[in-house]
Amino acid sequence: MEQMALTAPGGDHSLWALFWQASWVVKLVMLGLLGASVWTWAIIIDKTLAFNRMRAALNRFEEVFWSGQSLEELYRSLSERKTAGMGSIFVAAMREWKKSFEKGVKSPISLQNRIDKAMDLALTREMEALESRMGFLATVGSAGPFIGLFGTVVGIMTSFQSIAASGQTNLAVVAPGIAEALLATAIGLLAAIPATIAYNKLTADAAKLGLRMEGFADEFSAILSRQIDEKVPVRAAA
């Protein structure tokens, strides 16, 4: 006569049950990582849209700039509305140019310096706006797995402690605690992988856009320098 005890077939193994069974430390880690993941994706979507907008704006501006329109007209039309990218660099340079000529130019070299500085400042501001919040992606990408691992280690520790307390080593007793602890690492990886990929992609894109704007600034600086050379001696002579 063979006798055996039959326990009920497995309990609830859903995601929610796994989360709910976890200790508060692991819950905190999971919630934090979930929040990080949400914020990461928000940044990724936001940056992607912003970069697309910026690229379109640069293309449009370049088209207008090289269309042969007079710079005065372009400045008048741009200064009235919000500008981004090359437009703001152009506006900053033109504003400095205008201010200098309204008060009379003393030295062409200092004017050139001021215009360059204004353009540099505008470029820096643009780059800052482009690269804002990218640090968060880098942090999540590098620290996310560690945070998840921390949750897993704590979870496994507590589950082993409870196993020791219950005195049962049945696999059915051991497995749920470990699965629940591993969920923390899973969420950490889930947050970290997109963050790392997006960080690399967005950094490269931002560098490309920044290079384009820098190139425009140099070009515009050269044009203005030619203009100064043409205009200042005339005015000085007059």
């Binding site: 006569m1 063979e2 006798q3 055996m4 005890a5 039959l6 326990t7 009920a8 077939p9 497995g10 309990g11 193994h13 859903s14 995601l15 929610w16 979930l34 993941s37 949400v38 914020w39 990461t40 994706w41 928000a42 940044i43 990724i44 979507i45 936001d46 940056k47 849209l49």
Partner: protein, 353 residues
Amino acid sequence: MKAGLSTSLALHALALAAGLFTLSSPRPLELTNAESFPVDIVPIEEIAQSVKGDKKAPVAEKPAPVPTSKPDIVEDAQEVGDNKIDLPTPPTPEPKPRPVETAEAPPPAPDPKPTPTPEPEPEAAPAPEPQPVPATEVAPKPEPKQEVKPDPAPEPVQPEQPKQDMAALPDVAPVPQSKPQPPKAQTARTPDRKEPEKPREEKRRETASSSDSNEKSVEDQVAALLNREKASGGGAKRSEQQAALGGRQTTGAKLSQSEMDALRGQIQRCWNVPAGAADAENLKVSVQFRLSPSGELEGDPRIVAGGGSGGIERTAAESARRAVIRCAPYNLPSEKYEAWADVIVHFDPRDMF
């Protein structure tokens, strides 16, 4: 940023919902009941539950008292023992040499008596004493000390006795001199003389056995050397006594832990625990059922324990019974049929809720 955040939140909600639905009930692994390497904890019952016998034998307290006779007596058997085959293994010597020595000691004791009798001189007594001491009693040191102590004690007595005898009977002087000497020799010398003679006897036996073995062929000798089995007692079952009622195997078959798990899993799949069982503590049900060698259910499963009067308890018991019926036929190792022919399964829905 708002658009990005809201989109991200929406996406996460979607992913979590999908995860809840797809990961909510991970499908249990479909395991075939294949035991690649059966590992089991072997309890002592495996040996203690020795049930070898004949299944067709009538039930009896003791086998029929037919006088035991040993058939198949090998002709020209040279060896002694219960073995069916004539094994040239020498009977393993029983390691009891010392008690035997003490037992054999008395017979030689009378022998030395005649030899000392011709010695009339008292001086002869000390002469044999030194001889046995180096020959036999080198190892046991306490014995020589004991001998030395009794020697001086009787010696002072010896001179006194002859003096008294001499005083009483001066004519028969030689006779009393010889008479008191043997009793002294018996007390003091007999233990010494017994011991030197024993090794001689043993040597004689050894030489006799070696001369016997020389007659045998070399192969037999080698086989005898290699064979460390006891020559007697290892024979096949040759008793004519009727076999007792029992199983076909020597030991009681037992399902291994993994085989039990397999049966458990097979029943578990079909078990629908009754919903709405609030106090699951009292819902333990034990079901007994018989199985045919093909794994089919034989007869109706019987509820052995549990399934009380309450409505929920009865439904729980019924659900357990239904699970057993629905899952038949069971896939179990056929060579252990005797172990699972009659099974009791305890259903415990406590972990269900």
